[in-house]
């Protein structure tokens, strides 16, 4: 039955102060076309807002877009808050311009996937599907 399918639910959030959300929208649209339910939160989300939305929407995946360079401040905060709320099973994916040395650090902290400009949306879709199995 159509209703008993367990859909993948993804929260797409723009964290911090940069206002460029083209990338986030492209990813949101691609995930939608891959059959997922994508909750789009809009611009300038604080870590508190992102955690609250993830809790209320019961998503398996949070996809963050950060282009401001503030990823080393925002991402650890979000990871801590998700754990504090009992959402340690939620997987965190990150998109933006992230230097290689930061990538290593962020993955250690628990980020499941990091994607730079030019990443094929197919790669992101496959990674998310794998993470949800």
């Amino acid at each position: 039955m159509e209703n008993s399918q367990n859909k993948i639910r993804v929260l797409i959030a723009k964290a911090g102060l940069d206002g460029h959300d083209r990338g986030a929208k492209v990813v949101a649209r691609a995930l939608r076309d891959a059959g997922m339910e994508v909750i789009y939160t809009g611009l300038r989300q604080t870590p508190e807002m992102i955690t609250e939305a993830a809790l209320q929407e019961d998503v398996q995946i949070v996809g963050l877009s950060i282009l401001s360079g503030a990823h080393m401040t925002l991402v650890p905060k979000i990871l801590t808050m998700l754990k504090k709320q009992g959402l340690e099973e939620v997987k965190l994916f990150l998109g933006g311009i992230i230097p290689d040395e930061d990538k290593i650090e962020l993955k250690k902290l628990g980020v499941d996937g990091i994607y730079g400009p030019g990443t094929s949306t197919q790669v992101i879709i496959k990674d998310i599907q794998k993470a949800c199995q």
Binding site: M1, E2, N3, S4, Q5, N6, K7, R9, A28, R29, L31, R32, D33, A34, G35, M36, E37, V38, I39, Y40, T41, G42, T46, E48, M49, E52, A53, L55, Q56, E57, D58, Q85, G86, L87
Partner: protein, 340 residues
């Protein structure tokens, strides 16, 4: 996944509420058990439906309504508010982009508010099949106000009126002429009509057209004059509208909050009207009857699915596509094939 304790939902624990919503939305066995446990604790909340065409400002208005409920003027204890926002599922991919939260940013950080986005998952009446179930969860968890925002609706998506106690139909200036207002459908289900974006040009025309429509439906408001003579409009017997409540028509500007206090007043008045007139029980009965019908249909279909040989459906479908057998005859065979 750990099993959800119904008690933690009744205590209003947010993570338990959220996970119950998912189980019920996915129509799982655990979800059914939870609904069973919640049912005796439901029936208390005021269910407010918000519907209207895409782009009329439903989400922005819901944002303002929730804000106003959470900040009552006399510093009374504010009610807990839940919002269920439904957006359409793609008929091609089964995916959905749920964007109503974008307009509800003002509500972040308030523990007395819970927003849940929901995809329609193939339902056509403006809601999803599980919306009524999600309402039960919030009701049991102690949310006193539950606002249900439908898919951007056209003319005939009227399921919300069967679910909600009070239905708001949101219009905006410039969406159509007066003929649109006398068509059957969405305007008939309004308990309160809202003309949002009333700072835009043309809003006077919209307000006037809606007032004219209402005076046709409720000739008792004011006599209808035609060439200087009063026209007698006798409603057809048995179709007399509910004369105890005449829908109010309220202008709002949801982006600034203008008109929202009046809208809350109208909702409170409608709530007391339903309670004092006995209509509340009538609507509850109609709602539960509708729910029972839906459940029965679903149960019959799934029982049929367990009894029919797995390839029978595709075989008959190909005979129908080849025009060997009519769809009506095919249905008969499918039902007989399951021994029903």
């Amino acid at each position: 996944m750990s099993v959800i304790s119904p008690q933690s939902v009744l205590n209003g624990e947010r993570i338990a509420v959220s996970r119950s919503l998912t189980q019920i939305e996915n129509n799982t066995a655990e979800g059914l058990k939870l609904l069973e446990a919640f049912f005796p604790h439901t029936g208390k909340a005021h269910l407010i439906g918000v519907t209207g065409a895409p782009g009329t400002g439903k989400s922005t208005l819901v944002n303002q309504l929730a804000l106003a409920y959470r900040n009552p003027p006399n510093h009374e204890a504010p009610p807990k508010v839940a919002i269920i926002a439904v957006d359409p599922t793609s008929p091609f991919t089964g995916g959905a982009l749920l964007g109503d939260r974008v307009r509800m940013q003002d509500l972040a950080g308030d523990p007395g508010i819970f927003i849940r986005s929901m995809a329609s998952r193939g339902s056509l009446g403006g809601l999803a099949a599980a919306t009524a179930g999600l309402v039960q969860v919030f009701d049991a968890a102690g949310f006193e106000i539950i606002i249900i925002e439908t898919v951007g609706a056209g003319q005939a998506e009227v399921d919300i009126a069967r679910l909600a106690h009070s239905t708001l139909v949101i219009e905006a200036p410039g969406l159509g002429d007066e003929i649109q207002t006398i068509k059957a459908g969405i305007l008939e289900i309004a308990d309160i009509l809202v003309v949002n974006k009333s700072d835009k040009p043309g809003s006077d025309n919209t307000l006037r057209a809606l007032r004219n429509m209402l005076s046709l439906a409720h000739p008792e408001i004011e006599p209808i004059m035609h060439h200087g003579e009063e026209m007698a409009i006798e409603p057809v017997e048995n179709t007399k509208p509910d004369t105890g409540w005449i829908p109010s028509i309220l202008p709002t500007v949801a982006t600034t909050g203008e008109g929202i206090p009046k809208l809350i007043e109208a909702l409170t008045a409608h709530h007391s009207y339903l309670k004092s007139s006995g209509k509340w029980q009538e609507r509850e009965k109609a709602r539960l009857e509708n729910e029972l019908d839906t459940l029965l249909q679903r149960a019959l279909r799934s029982r049929w699915e367990t009894k029919i040989p797995p390839d029978a459906y595709s075989k008959i479908l190909s005979r129908v596509t080849n025009r060997k057998i009519s769809p009506w005859k095919a249905v008969e065979e499918l039902i007989q094939g399951a021994g029903l």
